[in-house]
Structures are given as C-alpha cells and as structure tokens.
Amino acid sequence: MVSVIILGVILLYVLFVIYKKVKGMKEGKFCSCGCESCPAQKKCKN
C-alpha cells in the first residue's frame, strides 16, 4: 500500500512537470534551461 501511494505521488508529480513543460512549449515558453536572468525571460516565463 505504501509503495502504491508513494509511486502515485511520484507519478502525479512527473505528470505535472511534463504537463507544465508541454504547455509551456506550446505557448512558446520553452526556456527551461536555467536562465531566469535571460534577456527574454519575461516572454518565456510569464
């Protein structure tokens, strides 16, 4: 049971990260390479 819960949490987090990345890519916000200070960060992150 513990394994299932932990696995479920990990899976949910992975899906969340993938969802966010894909959503960002579709909107052209692909900058996920550690560039908070990038000159175009506003366009990418907001």
Binding site: S3, L7, V14, V17, F30, C35, S37, C38, P39
Partner: protein
C-alpha cells in the same frame, strides 16, 4: 482610481536603465556593466503618492535610427505605443555621447524627462554639471539620480507626473543669440536644435506637405528630419514625392549639426571635463593591449576555472555529506515503511542518485557564476569584445559577436538571444551557429566528474582545455562559414567601453541567486523526470523488469548507435544512452551515469572510484573520458537551445543545419582526439 502614467525608460546601452527600473519596481532583472543586456522590453508597475505608474524598460540604443533589432524595438515602442512620458536615462559621466539620443527624443515632440544617472561617478571624477543651465538649453526637466544608490528616485517620478502633458516645445529655449540663423522661420523658441538655413527650409517645406497629406500627424518636424535622413522605415510609411526637396541623404549634415549643438551644451554645462577616468585609461592600456589583451583574457578565464575547481571542490564536500545522509535516511525510512525493493531502487538509485548527483556540483556552478558576475559588473566584458575584434574581423564577424559567445559560457539560450544586437542578419545567423560551441555551465558537471575521475592530478587543466577547444572550434567554424559566404564585408566595431567600477553587491547577488535558483529548479523538474525515465528504460526490457541492464530497453537503444561512436572511443551502450539523454539537458549525461551504475553519491571519492572501476572493466580509459568530454562539449545543444535557435532564426532549415553541424563536428573532433591519442598512448 487615477489614470496610469505610462513611462518608457530609454537611453544608451549601459547607462543604468535596468538598475533604475529594478529600483522602482523591485524587479530583479539582469543588469551588467556591458552594453546589450536588455534585448526585449520589460514592464513593471509601482505607485508613487497613490499615483499608478507603468514602467517599460527598453533596450539600450544610441539613436532613433532603425538599424539593429534593439533600435527597431525601442523606436517602434516610443512611436506607436501609449507612452505618456519618456524618461531618457543618461550616463552623466558620458554626457556628450548620451545627449545625441536625448536630442532626437526631444525632437520627437513627446514629453521627455532627462534622468542624469551616475552623478556619483561624475563627482568622483571631479566633474560638475550645471543642472540649471542644462534644462534651460534642452528645454526639458533634468533630474540628477543615482540608480545604484537609489538617490533622486522620488523627485524623478515627481517630475514625470508633473510633465506628462508637456511636450518639450512648451519650454523656453535659450540659444546663443550669435548663432541664430537668418532662416525666415525662426525656430529657436520651439526647437531644441536649429539646423542650417538649407536644412530648416527643407524641414519646413516637407512638414507642410506632410501636414497636407496626413492631417492627424503630431510629430511632423521629426518625420521631416527622418525623411531628410532617408530613413527607410519612415520613407516606406510616408510615401510622398519629395524628389524636388530631397536630392540626397542629409543624415551626415543633421548628425554633425546636432553634435555642434552638443558641443555648445557641453561647453556651457560641464565643468572640469578633462579630468576623466584616468584610472580606467591606465587599466585599459594593459587589459586592451593589442598584444597582451588576448593572453590576459585567457589568463583571467584560467583563473575563473581555477576558482571554480578549487574553491568549488572545497565546498562540495558539505553537499556530499548531506547527500549521503539523505540517501541513507530515505533508504532506511522506505524499508521501515515496508516499501517494495523496486520502489526503493527507483527512489534511491534513480531519483536521489540522478538529482542528488547533479546537486553536488552546485558549488562549482556557484563559483563559476560568481566569477562571471564579477567580470561582467566590473566592466571587463566589453573590453573582451574590443580585444577580440581583430580576430573576429578576420573571421568575417564584428567583435560585438563575441559578446553572445562570452554569454555562452553561462547558458546558450540568452547567448543566442543576445545575437539580436548584431545589425547584419548574416552575422546574426553565423553567431547563432557558433555560439553553442562555447561551453555552457550545464556541461561543467561532466568536466568536473570525468576530469577528476580520470585526470585527478590535472583536473582543472583538462576542464580548462574543454573551454579552449570550444573557443577554437567556434573560431574555425566561423572561418569556414566566412569562406562559404560569398559577400565580403567590412566590419566596424562600435562598442561602448564602460567605466571600470567596483562590482555592486546587489547586482552580483541577483545574478548568482537567479542562476542557483534556476539550477535547483532544473534539478527538481527536468532532471527529476529524466532520472526516472532513465531508471525505467534501464531496468525494464522486452521481457519486463530485468536484473541485467544490458538486456534493458536502454541497452538495446544504446547498442544501435555503438558502431557509429566507436571510432570516437565512445562505443559503449552506457555512454550512448547518457549522451542521448543529455540532449534534454547536458547535466543529464552525469545523472544518467549515476543511474546506470547505481551510485548514490557520484562526486564523492567512493562514488568516483566505483565509477572508474566499472568503466575500466569495460575498457573505458582516460583517453575515452577525454573524448567523451570533447563530444559532450560539441554535440547537439540542449532542447531549450534548439528551441531558441528555431525561434531566433525562424527557420527549421537553419535549426536542422545547427544540429547537424554540431553533431558532425563533435563526432569529427572526438574521433580525431581518440585516434591521435590512441597512436600516442
């Protein structure tokens, strides 16, 4: 609620616009002591005395002529958007140069407030600016401020709020009576710069025609001047037949006459002009020396990597202990909770090993960015572009193209975007193609790990050689592209060399903190997911879960590319899997290796010994390790960089060319290194 006042911050590059913007809005946008940091406009909001303000930070420009992308962006925003007040941020310590843009803005006819920034530097140099005479001569409010020390900020916004409805011509001008022309329409009361009679006549006649055709126009004089300058955009927009008036471009005459007026302003408003930056000149005599400049640059970069390795490694020990403790605690905790072996393996050998392995390199990354921040904020980076100009022009590029390449030491994405500062589209494309060869910080963990594992006595030198190889390959590729390109171009470098200054603690903190934060965020998202995927493909095969990884999906995939990479000494399926995974983000090459060999703390002595033993068992030697580092340096850029190349070139074809170019060069150079190395060793 009162109407929001839209304020645009504009000014020459490196005059402190972004620092001023940050001071008002509390934003933490990147600032640096070299030109071209801001390539897109940024917006922020704040309230002053219950009055809402919207601030826009525009890329630095020298004039309102639309040559570079920055100039185009800033000009179109100033002209077309709802800007209530333009704040022209001026570097008071370089007043002469900054006034050219100021005059153009005043001519535009919109409300302009002059923010005299860096007044502290003016005082330090023993100069004085007559802040009563200057607004008289320019006809606009002039407010001394210091963005770094947050001085004069309130009074600047006070002036903005009060002058939002006043165009410059609302002010009384005080021109020298003797210099007044005999032009029938005496503009000395309403215009900041009055040109020669010939030009003034033309301006009047063009203005009349413009007004007759476009009745809604408000900035007729500015448009007439631009038409006389034969500005391409304006000519395209206002298609009047003016051949009887404009027989040639009057741009040079207009520029010269503006500078005549600037000289007049300077002679009246600036005291002790000659006592300028002696210290900067003395330092520049050494750092930008035409013979020693380049070796000094490579020496400084060597020092950066010396610090990255030695200080970084000293700090790394703390992280290793922490990671060991965390890994053991999670393992024990999961066993206590009765979690299954597969789950424990996934979490400890997959997630913690993958993510934790990357986190232990944080001190090296921290030191690297700290050193780069010092170099940027001190004013040295612009000098590097200047020093490199000779070499770059031989490659068919301007020295300015070296700035994106330098930024590439941090991250390729902003570096590629910084190429927007280049005027020529072909130069931009060339710079975009060569910038990913510069070794970004994501590759650092690969160098640190493999150089310390296989070259413990010379780890720093080996890693430094990667950065040199990156620069040399970029130079050679640029040279090859120069020969392929048919057009022979003459490049002139026009770059501002800012004053050397003691790096600002806040600027350094923001720069380093943002990088560290991004590194942690990346570890918690991209590398987290990648570690799980790698664990899955290495622990599952066509028959289900496998004990022997060589039967896994990962191994099957890796073995397919083994023959291709064997000549480069990389014919190991484990290495192939790590390299493929590294396309998502370069750090994943390291996390893949940790997951592959199930090493919880890869950067510890035990972890490295285990890895060397495991790799040695399959015949992977120091030469293979060097070849792997070279390949990692040069092969396909990470996914974010690929997406940026696509966005910046707006072409899948050129994105494909960039990928293929890097892959071919990586394979070629790594093969060369391995084959020559095999003959020697």
């Amino acid at each position: 609620m009162e109407k929001t006042i839209n304020v645009a911050f504009i000014g020459n590059p490196n005059c402190g616009k972004t620092t001023l913007f940050n001071a008002y809005t509390g934003a933490k946008l990147k600032v640096a002591n070299w030109p071209g940091v801001t390539v897109e406009k940024k917006e922020g909001a704040f309230e002053y005395h219950d009055h809402p303000f919207k601030l826009v930070d525009l890329p630095g420009i020298y004039s309102l002529t639309s040559y570079t992308m920055e100039e185009k962006l800033s000009r179109s925003y100033i002209l077309e958007d709802e800007v209530d007040v333009i704040v022209d941020v001026v570097d008071a310590s370089s007043l002469e140069r900054n006034l050219y843009l100021a005059l153009q803005l005043i001519e535009l006819g919109k409300p302009v407030v002059l923010a005299l920034n860096m007044m502290d530097i003016v005082e330090e140099r023993g100069m004085e600016i007559d802040i009563h005479r200057l607004p008289e001569m320019l006809g606009i409010p002039t407010i001394p401020v210091s963005a770094r020390k947050k001085m004069g900020l309130d009074i600047l916004m006070h002036a903005v709020a009060h002058h939002k409805d006043k165009s410059p011509s609302s002010f009384e001008h005080h021109h020298d009576e003797k210099k007044r022309s005999g032009h029938p329409h005496n503009h000395h009361k309403e215009c900041v710069v009055v040109y020669s009679d010939e030009i003034e006549d033309k301006i009047d006649r063009i203005s009349e025609r413009l007004q007759a055709h476009y009745k809604e126009l408000t900035n007729v004089r500015w448009l007439a001047i631009k038409l006389l300058e034969q500005d391409a955009e304006i000519r395209q927009k206002y298609t009047l037949d003016l051949t009887d008036l404009i027989d040639r471009s009057y741009e040079t005459d207009i520029i010269n006459q503006k500078y005549d007026f600037i000289e007049e302003v300077i002679s009246e408003c600036l005291v002790n002009k000659d006592e300028k930056a002696e210290a900067t000149d003395k330092v520049d005599a050494v750092l930008t020396h035409n013979i020693w400049g380049l070796p000094i640059f490579f020496g400084i970069m060597a020092l950066v990597f010396f610090l990255t390795f030695n200080v970084g490694d000293a700090l790394k020990g703390i992280f290793e202990v922490g990671l060991d403790w965390f890994s053991t605690s999670v393992y024990n905790g999961l066993q206590l909770l009765g979690a299954g072996d597969v789950l424990i393996s996934l979490i400890v050998e997959g997630i913690i090993a993958g993510v934790g392995g990357i986190l232990t390199f944080l001190p090296n990354i921290f030191i690297l960015f700290l050193a780069l921040a010092f170099l940027e904020d001190s004013g040295y980076m612009s000098r590097v572009a200047y020093v490199m100009d000779g070499l770059m022009s031989k490659l068919g590029l301007s020295g300015r193209a070296f700035i994106p390449m330098l930024l590439g030491f941090g991250c390729s994405v902003p570096a590629i975007m910084a190429s927007r500062a280049l005027e020529d589209p072909k130069d931009r494309l060339k710079t975009i193609l060569i910038t990913p060869f510069m070794s970004c910080s994501a590759r650092l963990p690969i160098y640190v790990l493999f150089s310390e594992m296989f070259f413990p006595q010379h780890a720093m030198l080996v890693a430094y050689s990667m950065y040199l190889i990156g620069v040399v390959v970029a130079v050679l590729v640029a040279l090859a592209l120069k020969f392929i390109g048919k057009k022979k171009q003459v490049h002139t470098l026009l770059i501002e060399l800012p004053e050397y200054k003691a790096p600002n603690a806040r600027t350094i903190f923001i720069y380093v903190w943002e990088k560290v934060k991004d590194y942690l965020a990346k570890a918690g998202t991209t590398i987290f997911v990648a570690s799980i995927i790698i664990w899955v493909i290495l622990n599952f095969g066509p028959t289900g879960m496998v004990e022997d990884m060589s039967l896994s999906f990962g191994a099957i995939l890796g073995k397919m590319a083994v023959p291709l990479l064997s000549p480069a000494g990389l014919g190991y399926w484990q290495v192939v899997v790590a390299l493929i995974a590294g396309i998502a983000a370069k750090e994943i090459v390291v996390s893949s290796m940790t997951v592959l060999y199930g090493i919880a703390n890869i950067s510890s002595q035990v972890g490295m010994s285990t890895m060397v033993g495991a790799l040695g068992a399959v015949g992977f030697t120091a030469l293979n390790a060097y070849s792997l580092m070279v390949f990692s340096l040069l092969y396909i850029p990470c996914a974010a960089t690929i997406a940026t190349i696509r966005k910046e070139t707006n072409s899948w074809k050129w994105t494909g060319v960039a990928i293929a170019l890097q892959l071919i060069i990586a394979w070629g150079v790594a093969t060369l290194v391995y084959q020559i190395g095999s003959l020697i060793i």
